[in-house]
């Protein structure tokens, strides 16, 4: 019987923007944030988002970033939105390459032999998502046109749309995309999360319960808007 030795798994990983690393006040701000909840950040895995930043082309720079973060008890495990050359440099110091964020900037590759791969089509689920079921839309959006039962879990790297009652959990921007959003016709969720920031049922504003809602991350906080 064939066994897959490397299995799929889902982790919530924090992202540090490389542009912030260059900011002189970065270390001070980081120390403050960590100070608020040191246990949460101890040995926490972090991904470096190199989007829109010049440099970071040598293994040394990545090593230095890793050391700075380690000084604050964070563990740099990979890079995101890296160009091929950066991926190589990062790999040289043992960093992984994470899936790019949904909104790709115009980082025009110098020359590419082949056209970029087409954006993955949204994952569409039309049958009710039953209790105990987990659906993961890798690298794309998830659209559900039926009810999601309590005890069911929807995860997407992109947005999540539920054209039905959302009674289970919805985790959008699972790969760290803070721009991901959750849309549902009827909010009754057990838990909603975008890029790791979450609210449980009790914390959802009661005026939105049972209504059509859009959930987005605004200034690092989950905000709900009636739609």
């Amino acid at each position: 019987m064939a066994i897959n030795l490397v299995q799929g798994a889902l982790f919530t990983v924090m992202v540090v923007r490389a542009s912030m690393l260059r900011d002189p006040s970065f270390e001070h701000e980081l120390a403050r944030q960590i100070d608020r909840s040191p246990r949460f950040f101890r040995n926490a895995p972090v991904v470096l988002d190199v989007r829109g930043v010049g440099g970071f082309e040598t293994a040394d720079e990545f090593a230095r970033a890793r050391d700075i973060l380690r000084h604050y008890t964070l563990v740099l495990v990979g890079v995101q939105n890296a160009a091929p050359a950066q991926v190589e440099a990062a790999a040289a110091v043992g960093l992984a390459s994470f899936a790019p964020t949904a909104a790709q900037p115009a980082r025009a590759p110098a020359e590419t032999a082949e056209p970029p791969p087409p954006a993955a089509r949204s994952r569409l689920v039309t049958a009710p998502v039953r209790s105990g079921t987990q659906v993961y839309a890798r690298g794309t959006d998830l659209v559900v046109t039926a009810a999601v039962s309590p005890g069911a879990e929807l995860v997407a790297d992109g947005n999540i749309h539920v054209y039905g009652a959302l009674r289970g959990r919805a985790l959008a921007g699972a790969n760290g995309d803070t721009g991901a959003r959750i849309f549902c016709s009827r909010l009754d969720a057990e838990l909603v999360s975008i890029a790791g920031q979450y609210l449980v049922s009790d914390q959802l504003p009661s005026e939105h319960r049972g209504h059509s809602v859009e959930i987005a991350l605004v200034d690092d906080r989950l905000t709900l808007t009636r739609i």
């Binding site: 039953r130 039962s149 005890g151």
Partner: protein, 270 residues
């Protein structure tokens, strides 16, 4: 072509065995050769509810292991020639259910029976999975109560993904909702989920609503499937459910307040 029907729920104690017995008897009364099999190895109850516990010689596990053949284990019901019971072992446990053995037994039963009813144990582990694996149809027994509804939802999800039909990409298992222990008074008072509440959450077609009835306990205690009791509202509701399963239209009784006759009011609820 024989049809395998699993009676399952996820939650325990909601009325699977009562339903399996009633449904099997109901189908037999309609002239179909029916066998009802107990999959609750180690905690067998079907033989009690069917009233044949004193005639059990060989059981399902014996036949799976080749220690006996089907004819030695099947028990013919004394009330109806079309009805047969296949009890299970009380001394073993669910690990004794080998999937290939179960398949062999079901294939053999399909040669002579019209309907094969699998009375599933509670839970979502090996016993329950084996009971639902070979099903063509499923009856999800649910009480109008939040934990039962949650567990039914779970088992429906499992049926949709782990039955043989799902694994082989064949037409899906035909899933029906059976609401049991329905108490109209409590629903009216708002203490109990209504039919519509449950239908909305589970989104599967409703096969029937069985009212809460004292006759069910009497039926278990006397080993008589409740459809054989002419005075039982639950029995009548099961007869309706069987008719609907066979494709007939029947109005849903016991879900609206019935006009009470003078004697009913005098002597209280049946």
């Amino acid at each position: 072509m024989a049809r395998v029907i699993v009676v399952t729920s996820g939650k325990g104690g909601v009325g699977k065995t009562t339903t399996s017995a009633a449904f099997a008897a109901g189908l037999a009364l309609r002239g179909h050769k029916t066998v009802v099999i107990d999959f609750d190895v180690g905690l067998r109850n079907l033989d009690l509810v069917m009233g044949c516990e004193r005639r059990v010689v060989f059981d399902f596990i014996n036949v799976i292991n080749g220690d006996a053949n089907l004819n030695q284990a099947l028990i013919k019901d004394k009330r109806n020639d079309n009805l047969f019971i296949f009890p299970t072992s009380q001394t073993r446990d669910k690990d004794a259910l080998k999937r290939d053995g179960v398949e062999r037994v079901l294939d053999e039963l399909k040669k002579t029976f019209d309907y094969i009813i699998c009375d599933s144990p509670a839970g979502i582990e090996h016993g329950a999975i084996t009971a639902l694996y070979f099903a063509d149809s499923a009856i999800i027994v649910t009480n109008p109560e939040v934990s039962s509804v949650r567990d039914s939802d779970r088992i429906i999800g499992i049926l949709s993904s782990r039955s043989r039909r799902a694994e082989r990409n064949e037409p899906p298992v035909d899933i029906h909702l059976l609401l049991t222990r329905y108490d109209l008074d409590r629903v009216t008072r708002g203490e109990m989920l209504s039919v519509d509440d449950v239908k909305e959450i589970l989104s599967i077609p409703l096969l029937g609503v069985i009212p809460e009835s004292e006759s069910v306990l009497r039926a278990s205690n006397t080993g008589t499937p409740v459809v054989f009791d002419p005075d039982s509202p639950a029995g009548r509701a099961y007869v309706d459910a069987v008719a609907r399963f066979l494709g007939e239209q029947r109005e849903m009784r016991f879900v609206k307040p019935e006009k009470r006759g003078f004697f009913r009011v005098l002597f209280g609820r049946a």
